[in-house]
Subunit: 521 residues, 2 copies
Amino acid sequence: MTAITGTDPRTAGPLEPTAQASSTDHVAELAGRAAHDAFALENLGRERRADLLDAMAAAVERRRDDVIEIASRETGFADAKLNGELTRAVFQLRFFAAVLREGSYLEAIIDRAGDTPMGPRPDLRRLLVPIGPVAVFGASNFPFAFSVLGGDTASALAAGCPVILKAHDSHPGTSKLSYDILSEAAEAFGAPSGTLGIVYGLQGGADLVAHSAIRAVGFTGSLNGGQALLDIVNGRDEPIPFYGELSSINPVIVTPAAASERAEQIGRDLVASFTTGAGQLCTKPGVVLVPRSADGDRLVDAATAALTETAPQLLLNERIYSSYTAETAQLRQRCQVATFDAAASAPASGFYVDAALFEVDLAHLDGDLVREIFGPVSVIVRYDAEQVVDQVASALHRLPRSLTATVHHGSTADEDLTGRLTAVVRETAGRILYNGFPTGVAVSWAQNHGGPWPSTNSLHTSVGATAIRRFLRPLTFQNAPESVLPQELRSDFERIPRRIGGVLTLPSADTGTSAPASATR
Amino acid sequence: MTAITGTDPRTAGPLEPTAQASSTDHVAELAGRAAHDAFALENLGRERRADLLDAMAAAVERRRDDVIEIASRETGFADAKLNGELTRAVFQLRFFAAVLREGSYLEAIIDRAGDTPMGPRPDLRRLLVPIGPVAVFGASNFPFAFSVLGGDTASALAAGCPVILKAHDSHPGTSKLSYDILSEAAEAFGAPSGTLGIVYGLQGGADLVAHSAIRAVGFTGSLNGGQALLDIVNGRDEPIPFYGELSSINPVIVTPAAASERAEQIGRDLVASFTTGAGQLCTKPGVVLVPRSADGDRLVDAATAALTETAPQLLLNERIYSSYTAETAQLRQRCQVATFDAAASAPASGFYVDAALFEVDLAHLDGDLVREIFGPVSVIVRYDAEQVVDQVASALHRLPRSLTATVHHGSTADEDLTGRLTAVVRETAGRILYNGFPTGVAVSWAQNHGGPWPSTNSLHTSVGATAIRRFLRPLTFQNAPESVLPQELRSDFERIPRRIGGVLTLPSADTGTSAPASATR
């Protein structure tokens, strides 16, 4: 058996072994246990599962220092970033508890028996039920918020699905400790033992996705990694949904008016955004469309100045490091202008790199030149300010589509242009931002973290309340006796929003669910 | 080029040619036109698209006699069945108009800017937008309600997606006339010309699914046909959702109490159900679990008696006819008891067959014995009445999963058993019926026509209001100027249900959308 061992990015040296790579038999055992306990987890019900998520959140909070410490060693991220991310992960667990208590996510619908133009209709009652055990693959770049403690785990458990995690090889110790905290909290709560499982190693992950008991896969990672898992999914006897968050370049468009008004500010903020998390964010602005004008020059100058004050950046692992080095070397050859940070040059050991900014004319842009590169790099593309809409459309047409697109517009008289640019970018993204930067993804009801291929392969988000829909399937009861119905579909139940006879109906005030205060306690 | 020609099932002779098989170039032209006009169709807006669906419904109603006439020749279905189905298709178009006017389907959510435990949150506003051109493959067995005029077309157009239809080779003339009616209505309404398209022939369908402009596929048909298209989808550079409604055996479970109380009634109704539409319904009860007891014998005797009064049945096409003949021959060899209708024996010409009922003991049941067979046949499986739950679970475990599962329970004192059987069948189906039969699928808000593989490959329904979700993707606007937002996300808009600050909010009464009466005018 192979030992799973993390690496210290600061030295490129190995850390202590975390676990053994999971055998095919072990994966099968975990999957069988998850399938066996799926119904029991569902039967806890909304309110008890909400309590379970709250208990998990509290348990994680109690072990904050321990998980930060191991994550720091395995990822090299600053404690401030890790603390913020852990706060986010804890919030996310509590947020899904609130989503459960509110209950709309069930999409409960009641059509009572009656006459229709097609003849008599039976009593039909629909809601969403959990799909069964879910495999969750965490990402390298968010050891908490998109890993064991992350949104896929929180939303799948909220849905009522057992979760089997694949520990990321880049932070196996963090994954193991996170898993131990969650599973101890689940056990203390009295949740069924098959609620959570974890596997280690590449083959363990492949075995997990191939196992017949697994009913969906949540994945945040590279396009290549996602494609490999998707091939396994496509080869299964029984197809299952694969929710992959894969690759994104997140174009930022700066209009002539925005450049005129805020060139320096945008330039500085751009560098801050693409160096956040050492540029290892799926929402990193990887390409920035800037007018070929004096205002555009000011923006680029400000970005260059900010870059040269940036310290060397520490990448997560050898794969990202090698890829960054190779890709930036290629960009340096193909772009007209290349700026690397000069505040200090990167140490020779460990996965340190210089941040970099490239510049190219729109005429030379193609999808080969600008593609997702993990690391602190972005490419400025200069366009002709006289033809902004056409030039932006032409640029986006040559680039892969993304999670986000951003428009920096001027403060006044720019509304028509902003509307036309919105029409252009909306086909290419799942979130459109204005006068901001795409890094930073709030966990909220309205969030969408998903977009057209290759940014994801689904019509869903992996962040925010509606992420839960990925792990639910509809079930309709026809002429069912009240006693066999889930309580949310019974006639006398009034505690969640339901559609009755085609009319959306809110909970009656005096039987409402727990107040928001308790939902985020 | 190959001429596309229907067949008269009554004589097995060819009808007049309908069209030429579509060339790859023609398919590309249609797909390009759909992509070009997608935004214009979306920009009609909810209310105008609702009017468009109503106009289409009225146009179909005006040509009722014509479409019934050609469908009768191509399918051999009785006029009563065809009239009922056309009424359903017309109702469905108007129903989706009502769904549009109501507006909940947009899932509009507004999170205003504010502070959170993770720091300040921007203004986030989310809704669902159309995914783009959709390919719709109609089914042989519903020339209207699951074909050109069917639910996939209605829900995709409602979503705002252009639709390119694949005419079913079993009723190409009906498909062409249906398409002409819809597209003339669309043109008269002023809808963009790329709103609808149609292709003919197997290669045309394959080219359509492979075309890069197509963003989703709706398919109702056989498992083999669906699998072939799914392989094309999986081979695309850019994966797209494939919504296949494929194969279903729809188990019916008769408890000892139900058999005791209503043996004769259940036996008669069973035959009526599995011979509806000559047994060519995806919800046909293909397997019936009956207790091995005197009550069970009475049920089987009643079914046998009803069967022997049944006239020969006319199947849709040569493929279904050959398959039915081969599959029933095999069942005759493997089952203990076989009953064929004897009221008249089937004519030697055309696709006429005898209805058939088989009986087998649970011990001999396997997934090879009972699988979906299109045509008027069902299999009764006898179980040990002393161990009903275990025996039912054992039977279902050996069978493929389905769109529906049905429990016939007794009138009293059977509640605990009904609950336990519900727990057993819920993993195997998307709709659970009680004391009824699964044929007949009401179009309504709460309907679910979808289930675990192989009945479908998705977490969605193809019938009812929520079918629209298949053709929508989420889009979130962050800090957008009001003027670039879709009207349903603007601060002063109050005409549809929206979630604001986490709280579901109903339209204000005085600005409500059109009344239900106008929605189904």
